[in-house]
Amino acid sequence: MRLKTLFFLLIVRPLLLLLSGIRAEGTERLPRQGPAILVANHNSHLDTLALMSLFPAATLPRVRPVAARDYFYATVLRRFVSERLVGILPLERRGVKKREEHHPLEPLAEALDRGEILIIYPEGSRGEPGELRPFKSGFAHLAKMRPHVPVIPVEIKGTDRALPKDEALWVPFIIDIHIGEACYYNNTVREFTRRIERFFENGDPHADR
């Protein structure tokens, strides 16, 4: 995991600082220790880098974005970046339902049990710039499985301008990251999903009150 820390300290942070700049609100609400679930909106590959760069070096190794194995392990280079530099938690997308050898969220729950901090993008893949797609309920199912783990909503703005989906040109725009207060699973999966989703719709920092 040393490589990951170096990658963030020496490459991601300086690059982000110079080429975009991050304005973060509520960084004191970022967990220092796992387990925790960060739920964020997703428009750009920069989302992951920007959010992870907010963590101190000591916590960084435990922060793991959940991402599709078939896409991020597809080529050697992509796999190297995803596995060694970013340290994603690869998720099987295809054929999971058919096999049903174990619950598809089991690896995520295990990661939480190991004290890791997961980043989940409930919109699925990256959406169109500035658009919020309906949330999938995966994270809520996970929260239901581990109800003592805090779920922290994180709103990321500006990455869709800096490096939108399907564009290779990174144009400097400031990235705004707004970290909400931790919520705990307490109701139904559907209502919990809605509750977190409302944070993104209103930008309400008190989604759990």
Binding site: R161, E167, P172
Partner: protein
Amino acid sequence: MNRVVLTGGLILALLTLATLILEIMRRRSGLPYRELGARIRSWWVMAGLFLALILSGRAGAVGLFALVSYLAVKEYFTMIPIRRVDRRIIFWAYLAIPLQYWWAYEGWYGMFIIWIPVYLFLLLPFRQILTGQTRGFLESTGKVQWGMMLFVFSVSHLAFLYGLPEVEGHGGVELLLYLVVLTELNDIYQYLFGKSLGRRPIAPAVSPGKTLEGFLGALATTILTAVALRYLTPFSVPQALAAGAVIATAGFVGDLVVSMIKRDVGIKDSGDLIPGHGGILDRIDSLTYTAPLFFHGVYYIFY
């Protein structure tokens, strides 16, 4: 150069005084004065960085202002509403910044003065045409070019000022220091007079904190300071009076113009880059007006 070091010392002494007063206020009242504390700490950082870099030589000074321009125009582009295709136009706008400061570094006035108003101005619409997106063309080109003019072209006059040759033994660095110190002091004077005596707001729809009393108090004090700091310049006393009046007025207007942009797009602070001050736009707003006006006055009279 000794005059620069002397003035730098004065600034640091002033900051020390401010820090001491803050400490006394804290002890007496028991209040933390967090906002004010952050503000003064930021002044220390900014003054230190500014003094260190202008003393380090031409590359350092020009580099500093280039960075300031870049950060400011980035805040501006982030703030305004844009279309997706505008990214590509903005990309070219960014590329114009290092060149603009290169001309300033080289001291090539002929190119410096037309690079953004002529060449970039003609290039940006052309890049727009290549996007093939006709709707919003005028608004978008206008906004991008406007931001480049205010936060790059205007601010880059500071860098060019630095490189001006000596006049009567006063180099560009002294004039630069004179301009920047007066502009920032004028901001502070306006704040202090406005807080203590301010009653009649001048532009309530734009910036309710700007009062007639604040403006006039700062105008008088800035003019006095301009005369007091005359040792940095080749100015006669009437010239120093005029410089003080121009800086106080232009600084006031520049501040209002940036507030107006923020009002228009509906945000309060442009950023949080400088603790206690807001974004970098909030700190250099006055300079966007004082820099070109002071520069062209000096350039017309002495060069």
